[in-house]
């Protein structure tokens, strides 16, 4: 199979299937992933092909299933653990922060922890304060973890393959609102973790984003193009390690930068990027770097409240105009 049109969630399922076919050490574990095929159906059909020892339905015990992935990874397996909503990683933070992230370093480089944690973040579904958060900045702050956040079906496929092949723990963050999005997927395309993508070229301003807000930025760019403002959209694809070279090179072309993410703006990924641009990119900047993120509040439930909370194209356009004043 090469290029096919498929949904983002099916690209994930295909990547899991292809990785399991390619490597008998790859195993899946998570709540309702086997018999039920996953809450978002990302693992549908895999139990039937690979059996219950490689596709394990787990009890609702997030702390222990993520720790078990660490133990399996240290014992020769390549586990891919699904956490149903990113909000639930709160229960597994010891496994991620104290165990998975540190094992390679604190054991003196004797081995590594080749595990992947797949989990969906993000709102837009009225899922409420405990099922909608974007917590990737927490994970990006922990030395030893990699954090990947694909915005397209192609990247969901290629980056998940790369994450499973990676020797270190990779947090693979999906977006609930993207699962149904369709895109062309070529299973021969290889992606590297840590490499950004220019999603749209433009000369006037660089907009850096990742995950579901890449589409929001592209829609803002289209609207501004009607006025003759050419926006370059950089899709980071990987939050940790993020592709400084691509972002700084884009800034060197446009001299203006806006960073956009769905997560709370304060202490977020955007703050790290802005600080780097202010430092390493200082000579290139013709305007202050502007961030766009969620307000400092929990994600609200009511559709009207959540709509007001979420980053939209209007907010991105306002931020871009600010850099062009």
């Amino acid at each position: 199979m090469s290029a096919t049109e498929m949904r983002y969630v099916h690209a994930i399922a295909q990547a899991l299937r292809d990785s399991m076919d390619a490597d008998s050490d790859v195993m899946l574990l998570g709540e309702d992933i086997a018999g039920a095929g996953g809450s978002f159906k990302a693992t549908r059909g895999l139990l039937e092909t690979f059996g219950p020892e490689r596709v394990r339905d787990t009890p609702i015990s997030e702390a222990s299933i993520v720790s078990a992935a660490v133990g399996a990874a240290l014992s020769g397996a390549k586990p891919v653990v699904e956490i149903m909503f990113m909000d639930f990683i709160t229960l597994a933070m010891d496994a991620l922060v104290n165990q998975a992230a540190k094992a390679r370093f604190m054991f003196g480089g004797q081995g590594s922890v080749p595990m992947v944690l797949r989990t969906p973040h993000g709102g837009g579904l009225s899922a409420g304060p405990q099922h909608s958060q974007c917590l990737e900045a927490w994970l990006a702050h922990v030395p030893g973890l990699k954090v990947v956040c694909p915005s397209t079906a192609q990247d969901a496929y290629s980056l998940l393959r790369a994450a499973i092949d990676d020797p270190d723990p990779v947090m693979f963050i999906e977006h609930k609102a993207l699962y149904a999005a369709k895109g062309t997927v070529d299973t021969d395309v290889v992606a590297a973790i840590g490499s950004a993508r220019i999603a749209r070229s433009g000369r006037d301003v660089t907009v850096v984003s990742y995950g579901a807000t890449v589409a929001v930025c592209l829609s803002a760019a289209e609207r501004l193009a009607l006025e003759g403002i050419e926006v370059e959209v950089v899709d980071l694809r990987t939050v940790q390690p993020w592709d400084r070279a691509t972002v700084l090179a884009s800034l060197a072309r446009t001299h203006r930068a806006v960073i956009v993410h769905e997560a709370v703006q304060a202490f977020g990924v955007g703050a790290e990027i802005a600080a780097t641009l202010a430092d390493d990119g200082f000579d290139e900047l013709d305007a202050p770097v502007v961030r766009v993120g969620a307000p400092f509040m929990p994600v609200p439930f009511a559709t009207s409240l959540e709509k007001a909370y979420q980053v939209d194209a209007d907010a991105v356009i306002a931020a871009i105009r600010k850099t062009l004043l």
Binding site: I65, A72, G108
Partner: protein
């Protein structure tokens, strides 16, 4: 010099089958005296300021380590606790590498990055001591899961203290191990103390009842009787290898030292501390050996051999250089070849 080689002989003898009686006890004694002498040396080095940070000693609990390790072989894996020196020594970890690690030297098993609480040797299946109470338990679940998937015949063992009985991950892990009939041996070293508090004030349940709730066979053993622990561990590991699911082995033992070295232990009364010290598993094994007809000189020779190993390891650790910061900072992630 690698001091591991010289330990392999008794370890091999222990796993060699039905060597009941004196030989088996002698092998257990050799392991216990090594653990004791390593930890006594660490205590001195710590008091002299040669060990940074803090260390937790298992003095008085050596029979659990020696007995359980005697049931393990080849590809078996082990996860342990902050009080884990004995367990890793019993599995044959390099004594010199251990001292270098705990003294923060370049040649440490973990290049001086982990210290006492994170000693690991993945080649020996030692998945690490752990600084988080109970954290090794679900890690061992995952290791047992990998053994089951790979059909390797290996088993996983996790050591935890009675202080971990109140941790949620123990309850979760018992459930998962039982659900999936994993080849996992839960070894509780019940020394009566949850850090600075009596476990009776920390945990309202009983491990036996907890294991029973998940249908897991629980066995209570005198954790200061090395031979009894060895017999129980071998039987349990035999069951694991036969695919009969997880087992819980609760070893009742006594913590002779404080929670950490330098702990003034004002929370303990003198009588209890003396009683704990008097239940010394090593003195007990020695007396049994002599009763069984071993010569005092033969037993002394085991002590001397362990002492020589410790002295050599300390000398090597003192002579070793400091770890490289540049190497450390490069080792947060696996360095991959650029393509």
């Amino acid at each position: 010099m690698s001091s591991r080689t010289s330990l392999e002989k008794p370890a091999g003898a222990m796993t060699g089958g039905n060597t009941d009686g004196p030989q088996r006890l002698q092998a257990l004694y050799a392991v216990m005296t090594l653990i004791r002498q390593v930890e006594q040396a660490l205590s001195r080095l710590f008091a002299d300021g040669d060990v940074p940070g803090f260390i937790h000693l298992s003095v008085g609990q050596e029979a659990v380590a020696a007995g359980v390790a005697s049931a393990l072989s080849g590809a078996d894996t082990l996860a342990t606790t902050h009080r884990g020196h004995g367990h890793v020594l019993a599995r044959g970890i390099d004594v010199e590498g251990l001292f270098k690690e705990i003294m923060g030297k370049a040649g440490g098993l973990c290049q001086g990055r982990g210290g006492s609480m994170h000693v690991a040797d993945l080649k020996l299946g030692i998945l690490g001591a752990n600084g988080i109470v109970g954290a090794g338990i679900p890690i061992a679940v995952g290791s047992a899961m990998a053994h089951a998937m790979q059909k390797s015949g290996a088993v996983a063992v996790v050591f935890f203290g009675d202080g971990a009985m109140a941790e949620g991950v123990l309850h979760e892990s018992l459930n998962m191990a039982a659900l999936w009939k994993l080849p996992l041996l839960f070894v509780c070293e019940n020394n009566g103390w949850s850090e600075f508090s009596p476990t009776s004030q920390q945990f309202a349940g009983k491990l036996e009842a907890l294991a029973g709730a998940f249908g897991i066979t629980h066995e209570l053993v005198d954790g200061n009787d090395a031979l009894a622990v060895s017999v129980a561990a071998r039987a349990a590991v035999g069951d694991l290898r036969a695919g009969r699911g997880p087992r819980v082995l609760e070893c009742v033992t006594h913590r002779v030292r404080g929670h950490f070295e330098g702990d003034p232990q004002k929370y303990r009364n003198a009588d209890e501390m003396t009683a704990a010290a008097n239940l010394d598993p090593i003195a007990r094994a020695r007396a049994s050996l002599l009763e069984l007809g071993a010569g005092a000189a033969d037993v002394d020779a085991l002590d001397e051999r362990a002492g020589a190993m410790v002295d050599a390891a300390i000398a090597a650790a003192r002579a070793d250089g400091l770890p490289s910061f540049a190497n450390a900072v490069q080792d947060v992630y696996t360095q991959q070849e650029r393509t």
